[in-house]
Each structure stands twice: as C-alpha cells, then as structure tokens.
Symmetry: C2
C-alpha cells in the first residue's frame, strides 16, 4: 500500500483517532492505529475495546491532497506515528508499506522506517444494523452531556452508574445520571425518526463515550445515532464512534424528584460558585470536605473550616428567600459543579430539611424537571 497526503490533515485525524486509544490496554495491537487504504480514500481506526473511532479521509475532498498509489492496510504504533507525523519537515508525506510490513514514511529529507503489523490482525468493528437513525444537533447534545456528566460515577464497582441513562421517546430526549450522592437530569426536545414513532428507546451510554463525543462534535454539526442491542454508533460527518452500551436496568429516579420544600432560595449562580470556591480551600483540608449553609430571613452564611488551618465565613446575597430557617451541610465540590452546569443563569434551590436531598433548577424553568441537579446533604454532629 502507498499514499501521499497533506500532513496537517493527517495530523488532525490521527489526533482524533488516538483519543480512542488507551496506553493501558492489555491487547498489544490496540496500541496501534490501523490505516486501511481503499481506492476511494483511507480509513484510520483506533480502539480501546469500549470505544472505537474510525475516520474516513476521502480522495474526492481536494483539501486532503490525498493520492493513492496502492491499496492495502497496516497497523502502526499510535504514539510514535503521531509524534513523527507532527514533526515531519514538509507539507506532505508519503507512507508506503514494503516487504515484511516495513513501513516507510517520507517527507522532505526525512525517512522513517517503522515496523508494522498486518492490518488483517486488527479486530473487526461490530456491525451496526439499526432500523432507525436519531439525529441530535451538536450544540444540544453537548448541553445534555455537560449537564449530566458531573453525576456519572467513576466507581467501576457499579458499572451501570458509570454511564448516562438516555430515554428517547415522545419527541424528547431525557438524560439522567447518578452516583448515588447526587443526580443530574436534562430533558430536551427531539425529532424522532419516523420508524420510531410511538416507541421508546432506553440505553445506558458510558460517560467516557459521551466525553469523547463532545470533543469530536462542533456546535453546528449534527450527530447521527444508531443503536443495536449492546452497541451504539455515532456518526459526525466523516467520523464514526462505536461504543458498547452498559447493561442493566437503570433505577427509577423520578421518585427522587419533588417540588416540595420548606425553604427555597434564589441565587446568582456565578456569585455562589465563587463563594463555594473560597469555602472549599479550607474544607478540602478538613477530614470530611464539608461546608455548611445557614439560611434565615436575616442572613445567608456559607462556612467552611479546617481544624489545622482555620475557617471561613461568606455572607451571601440571596435574590430571594422563602420558608423556614435552615442549617444544612454538604460536599462543596458537588454544589460547585452543579451550579456551573447552569451557566450564568439564576438558580432556584429547594430544601426540605437538613437530612433530605435538595434540588437546583434554573430560575426561568423552576417548576419543571427539564434541568435539575440534586445533591444529598452530609449529616454532621450538629444535625
């Protein structure tokens, strides 16, 4: 096999494919990138066996400056290939596989000779034979992921919770995540494919897959999603991301969400984030990483302490206060991430009592569960 390509284009695509490759894989060939050269273009593949990314570089697109002399396929060590191509001296490079899988990469006066592995040894990607294709606008998809990714668990002991639960039904997409200390939910409108009218699709997508997708998609691009039993394929232009799905029945989380409250406040999310960020300088040094919020008609105080370093008190200016006085303690990291997920919006927080979880909703849509963050408090000796 042999082809010539514009170097900067090749670098960008290698970087994207490399995102799927883990240096910690136990399967040696998965440390490599597969390059398959067809008559019409080349396909780059990288995989860590949970996620696989495939990119098609077409000969027809002239900006690729791709010319193909001979078809074939090879697997090359991913990290070195990336480093080498990045540093080659000229605008173009030629890659040629010779006898014994020896692969020669030329650019200007540089000649690299890499030991390759036969492309036929690379695992084949799952076939996705789906009935219907869901189309998700990139900007909307990113908002859903950014809102829910914070509550995804990183504890492999309960694999189901390392993903986000997606329900696609009734012209809407509902995404829920929880690590059992907090919960995030986001509901957005969705144009359902014709074949799926009246049906519901429920899947659990690994958090890692969603994070990679938000990196691959631009706001103005669409993501096409195809689902089979245990696999999902996302297509963004010429990039294909395959991912396995997490198995299991996601618990019913709706029962956790309620608009009941005994204390309700409205806050400027940005201002509260800054106060939390100051309070956690000290709480991070404490044994329990906990801060306390004291609310009354007269004043609102956020406080954090570390017995070794000292303590901090922040007087908050609330936009509104309603209901009973309250003292409640919680992990400040959770509140910081929850607040950030609302962007610059004013946020309403509903509390029941010091031992009951509290929920955050945007002020503009405070009586719905379209955009919710729920946080479980921490019981402290005083409560």
């Amino acid at each position: 096999m042999k082809f010539t390509i514009k170097r900067s284009i090749f670098v960008d695509h290698l970087n994207n494919v490399q995102r799927a490759i883990s240096s910690r894989t136990t399967i040696p060939i998965l440390t490599g990138i597969k390059i398959a050269v067809l008559d019409s273009g080349i396909i780059l593949t990288g995989s860590d066996s949970t996620i696989s990314i495939e990119i098609y570089i077409s000969k027809e697109d002239e900006s690729n400056q791709l010319s193909i002399a001979e078809t074939g396929s090879i697997v090359l060590p991913s990290r070195f290939l990336g480093d080498i191509v990045k540093k080659l001296p000229e605008d173009q490079l030629t890659l040629e596989v010779q006898d014994n899988l020896q692969t020669v990469i030329r650019s200007g006066e540089s000649v690299f000779n890499l030991n390759g592995t036969a492309g036929s040894e690379y695992p084949t990607l799952p076939e996705i034979d789906a009935d219907s294709t869901y189309v998700l606008p990139g900007h909307l998809f990113k908002r859903v992921v950014n809102h829910t990714i914070i509550s995804v668990s990183n504890q492999q002991i309960r694999p189901l919770f390392t993903g986000v639960h997606f329900i696609l039904a009734d012209e809407q997409l509902k995404a829920v995540s929880t690590d059992s200390h907090r919960l995030s939910q986001r509901i957005v409108p969705l144009t359902m494919p014709e074949e799926s009218q009246g049906k519901a699709l429920e899947i659990n997508i690994p958090g890692q897959t969603l994070t990679e997708l938000t990196r691959l998609v631009d706001d103005n691009e669409d993501i096409e999603m195809m689902v089979t039993d245990n696999q999902v394929l996302f297509k963004i232009d010429n990039v294909y991301l395959y991912s396995r799905l997490l198995e299991g029945n996601y618990p019913d989380t709706d029962r956790l969400l309620s608009l009941d409250y005994n204390t309700k406040i409205k806050v400027d999310a940005q201002e509260l984030v800054h106060a939390v960020e100051r309070a956690l300088i000290l709480s991070h040094q404490g044994k329990n990483n906990v801060v306390k919020l004291s609310l009354s008609q007269e004043e609102a105080i956020l406080s954090g302490h570390s017995s070794e370093i000292g303590y901090v008190k922040e007087r908050l200016s609330l936009l509104s206060f309603e209901g009973d006085d309250l003292e409640i303690s919680f992990n400040p990291d959770y509140l910081r991430e929850a607040l950030r997920s609302f962007g610059g919006q004013d946020v309403v927080i509903r509390f029941v009592n010091p031992t009951h979880s509290f929920i955050l909703t945007p002020s503009e849509d405070e009586d719905e569960f379209n955009m919710v963050q729920l946080i479980t408090p921490i019981r402290t000796p005083g409560n």
Copy 2:
C-alpha cells in the same frame, strides 16, 4: 498588626515569594510566608533554606494602595494564603492579627480566619556585609544563565556540579557549567565595581538560584549582586534573593576547550534542531538514547533507531564541510539543548574523532570561547 492592600499587587508578590518555598521542606515553619509590617511598608519572606526571597512593599508607592494600621509580624501557611488571596471577591483586602495569633483576612463579604505562627519564630536571614556591588544587566544575565544552565548536573552526589561557576575579573564575567558529559561556557563584558578593580571573584551559584533569578528579573532591569564568604544576595528593585553558595574548588575546564579539529561543519541551528527532534522520537525508545551523525563531503546523515519501533534517517544540508569523513554517536538531547542555546544563529561544530568531545560555537565568533557548548560522544560497538 493590621494593614489594607490592593489585592492584585499582594497576589503577585505572594507568588514571587512562594517561588522560594518548597513543599518538601522538613522544617515546618518554612512552609509559611512571613509577613512583617513596618511603619513604612511590609516585607514578605519565603525560604527553603537554600534560597530565600524577600519582597518589600512600600507604603509610599501609591499603586500598592497600602495603608498600615498596626505594625507586627506573623507567619501564615503559604499555599492557603496564596489560594485565598487569589480568590477573594474585592479589589482590596484587610489582614489583621488578633489574639492568639488568629489572623483575619477580610474582603467584601468574605472573612477568613487563619491560625498563624509568631513572626519571631521565623529564621533570620543571613546578613550580607559585602565590600562591593556588581551590577549585571537583566538581559545579559538571562543569556548567561540560559546558555549554561543546560549543563548543570542534577546529581546531588557531586554538589559542586549542581551549580554554575562564575569568575568575575578583568571587566568580564565568565560562567562555566559541566555535568561531566557536557560543558557550557559563556563570557560577557562586565563593568567591575571600583573596589574590585584588579581582584578576581570566583563563586559557585546553585542552578536553582539562577533559574529563579531569571524568572524574577525583567530584561530591562539590573541585578545587583553582593557576595560574602558563603552567601550571595541578588537585589532586583524591591526583591531580595538570598542564596547559599556551593563550596569547593571548581576544576580547571579551560584545558578541555581546543579549536583543533579534523572535521568542521557549519549548520543552521534551527534546521538541525528539528532533525534531532525527529531522530530522538526513536532513540528515546532505544536502550541507550543515542543517534549517529555520518559526515562526508558528499552527504551528512543523522540517524536514530529503536529495535522495536524502527529507524529514521535525516539527510542534513550543511552550510559548509571541511576535513575528514566521520561517524560519531551521541545523546541527541544534549545536542538539541546545545543548539537551542544559540538561538537562531548559525553554528560551527568542530570534531576531532569519534571518541573525542566536540564543540559548538556560533559562526559569528567561531574562533573564541565566549559562547561554547561541548558534548562528549558515546562509544558504540562500531566505533
């Protein structure tokens, strides 16, 4: 003690003082910053016992917005103090020491209460009672350090070689460093203080001290240097950096430098750096991190290999070649750092034979030792 100060100014000065503070110190009080409040201003001190940095913030300079209500001194935990001050909400902050060394920092609606340590427990800095002050322009000092710091050893087993040897005599400053695999030398003109006319000063300054100094000094500032037996004080505007000197007699390195050669080439330093950076992608994977340079009238080839990954050959375009054919092997990291130290200049490299060290000088000053990098080759089975 109590004072109010502009927050951004305080943040900048704390950052600079913190440069001297090591998180690995075994002396607890040295994890703190000492703040001493005088009638005329405040002094911040940080130290890791090798280096101490002292910064004077004057009340007279109105941009500091410094007002002093009560003098005194306190030691506060450096990392937290920096984090807190950086995140405070308003443009100004007030710091007040109350009973029991409790220190209150207020800004807007934030109130931090830190446990301090008495300023009197902080070690006193050495007194520098020097006869004469050497003045070094910042831009020149930086060039000297950047050229020589690369050959400073990081092996504590031979402490003398972890510093740069400075000789100040005859209206010039000569700086030499070596880790016994390579050597750097830089000579620049120097205006000697009157009291030192006819005398020579030889000192060994720790590499760490020089690195910190280059970060503290601007190109258009002067550095004032005062030396006593085993200490040196550098003064840059309102910043004082104290450092111990390294003891011992630095070896005579002049005998290592010779203009004799059997092969001499002239190269574009930038171009060769790029070729070396490509070659070392593979050599870094080899057992010995070694590249080979093959020189003849016909061609110049730089090659690197790793038995697992493959090999690379770079054809170099020399600006000139003189003398015998040669094959020589060496650590590519050394050549890369040496070439970079010349900036964009063309460089002359003189070789004697494959087992003898080779030297690099700038093309414009190739017959002098004002700016030299020396590298020892690596013997390979072929040589």
